[in-house]
Symmetry: none
Subunit: 202 residues, 4 copies
DNA sequence: TATGAATGAGAGTTCATTCAT
DNA sequence: GATGAATGAACTCTCATTCAT
């Protein structure tokens, strides 16, 4: 008798999270049933409630789990860089890496966020606050060091950067991730750094 | 016979759309009930079904209606411009104008990270597809004219631009629209045109 | 086209109450399902929720409805009497009348050993409190007039009287109500008035 | 090997019964969960099923256990008396003693009886049949000896006596048992013996 | 014996949709 | 066209019961 195939509680929790992500990504959160999640996870419906208090909590726990991963990747990536340019590059690159790694989750996130109730959506967005703050810190550091132009509002710049990162990453992911991660990240960095228009006589 | 206060069918349809937008924005689509929409519109629940086949169609019709308005504003704005620079400026400005005018709708819509979600029964996408295509056309025109840098993939650039526009517009709107529309639009244009980082010795 | 068979909302509410009483009496409250009540009432399950907020409220509304009827009968009966003896007779008689008239409900209720249980979300009690208070008032009036013996605690006497009334009524009802109402009520009154034991040399 | 603290099966069974009584009295039978009973008993949920076949049987076993105790107390009390008057006094006193001793159980019984399904309720009532029969025998003995009035139906009298005993005992218990047992029992006996109304010209 | 994770039938409740008026 | 009472399928969540350890 080999205990190898014994499923530990932590594994079962993960299995349910994985199944939930899959089902929610496929059918949308509200349209998915706990039955479907249970089926996908290979457990009985009641079992889910041993690990998660409710369907809502299943979603928010899933969000937390993934957001924490992203946060960790970002922090690690940014820490290795010494200057603002490097930090921005790392920040962008980490996003693309995360999109590649958590493809299904990011599709779920971008597709379902708008359909949730505001409370649920707010709960989800909370996780991203840390990311926004970190980005803003880097930009403000750049401004104070004279590396980032003073002509822009730092908050605005933060949203602009993250907005383009997510949009490009989403498109890249949705179209099959055919381009190299590094190339796409580089382009975004270059756009943010130097823009794309050739000087006109303004 | 007092026909003065008689509400025309078109008006009633609009009233329901307006109410639906309000209710959906407040509670999220799936969490909102037809009862709530009927209440907000001041009609009986059954009446909604005289104008819309189902709850889903109520949402997609709402999306279509608003997206058409945006499309129209964009087309008008872009048509007045003669060169690529002007068209891009007009495109960006029109977005901000629309956000200001359709504040509630955009808050509803923007919880979907930009306009990027190819979802909602494929119908919402139809509207946004036009916008994306138009943007991409301008950018490609710019590339072929040598105005837009060849170092970037045009599709990627399209998403990057729209992504930053929506993100900045959303933040602007969510924080009370205190800054001038023109200023914010200008900053986005400048960022897209020239970037924000001071040259480093690369 | 005859509108006679049109069911008014009030009628439907009553029909549901009637059905609920029947089902609850047959299967017990907790063991009964809303499906069973809906079936018995000849309506769809959801219809019940148009008239009652929840299963619990269905029960308490039922209790209220029947208790109010009993209260009304008691008040009417007692009001016609001029002296304490008459009031007590009327009180007892009214109880038996009510048992005869609301046979099913009292079987349902009386499984709670009289009306004495301070339960059912405090709401049923409200109804029975009124009855208890009225009884106690009559007894206290009797005490102050010298009609009722001072050797007994009035509250205790109240419970003793109601306890025997309900117990006898329940047994009378459960055994088919073969005896005359008046006779049974008389016996209870006589027992309360004079007791049943022949004097012993105490 | 420390066997000292080893709990014997009988003890564990008792512990579970005790816990069940407590939990049921607090939350009601249907509202209580086996989890709560297990917690209160300090055993695992599965253990309960080693001693009781089902939740229903846990309740009926509890009822049987307590009813047997009451029966025993009554038999012992009545046996010591030689005449009918003494037997009735003993019967009444034993009831009050039992209420005092099994306070929690009696509260449970009177509060929950009406909410059970008829089968379960009937099962519970079975236990009281012996008590009813014993009471009726005493009364019939009194009738044949000329001690109890012939103006009353013996069965009715039985229910009247038990009804007042339970009602007064319940009220006494619910209000904190401040009065002396003997006094309360005496009053009930006196009421049954001689009534409480002063003679009117009947 | 004892455990408690797992089960899954079953309950109350909601709500998009219909249709007689 | 307009209504809103009625419907009933479908959902989330509970919990008595089981059984591998």
């Amino acid at each position: 008798m080999d205990g190898t195939y014994q499923v530990s509680p932590a594994d079962k929790r993960q299995a349910i999270l994985e199944a939930a992500q899959h089902v929610f990504a496929e059918s949308g959160f509200h349209t998915s049933t706990m039955d479907a999640v249970a089926d996908a996870a290979g457990v009985a419906k009641g079992t889910i409630y041993l690990y998660f208090k409710s369907k809502n909590e299943l979603l928010t726990d899933l969000m937390d789990d993934r957001t924490n991963k992203l946060t960790q990747m970002l922090v690690e990536g940014v820490e290795t860089a010494s200057d603002v340019h490097g930090k921005l590059k790392a920040l962008i690159a980490a996003h693309f890496d995360f999109y590649a790694r958590e493809r299904e989750f990011m599709l779920l996130l971008s597709r379902q966020l708008g359909l949730l109730s505001p409370e649920l959506a707010a709960r989800v967005v909370q996780g991203t606050t840390f990311l926004t703050n970190m980005t803003q810190s880097i930009i403000e550091e750049g401004v104070s060091l004279g590396v980032v132009s003073r002509d822009f509002d730092p908050v605005r710049l933060t949203y602009a950067l993250l907005g383009m990162v997510h949009a490009v990453a989403y498109q890249w992911l949705a179209s099959g991730m055919r381009a190299e991660v590094a190339d796409v990240a580089d382009q975004v960095y270059m756009l943010f750094a130097s823009g794309v228009l050739h000087t006109e006589a303004q």
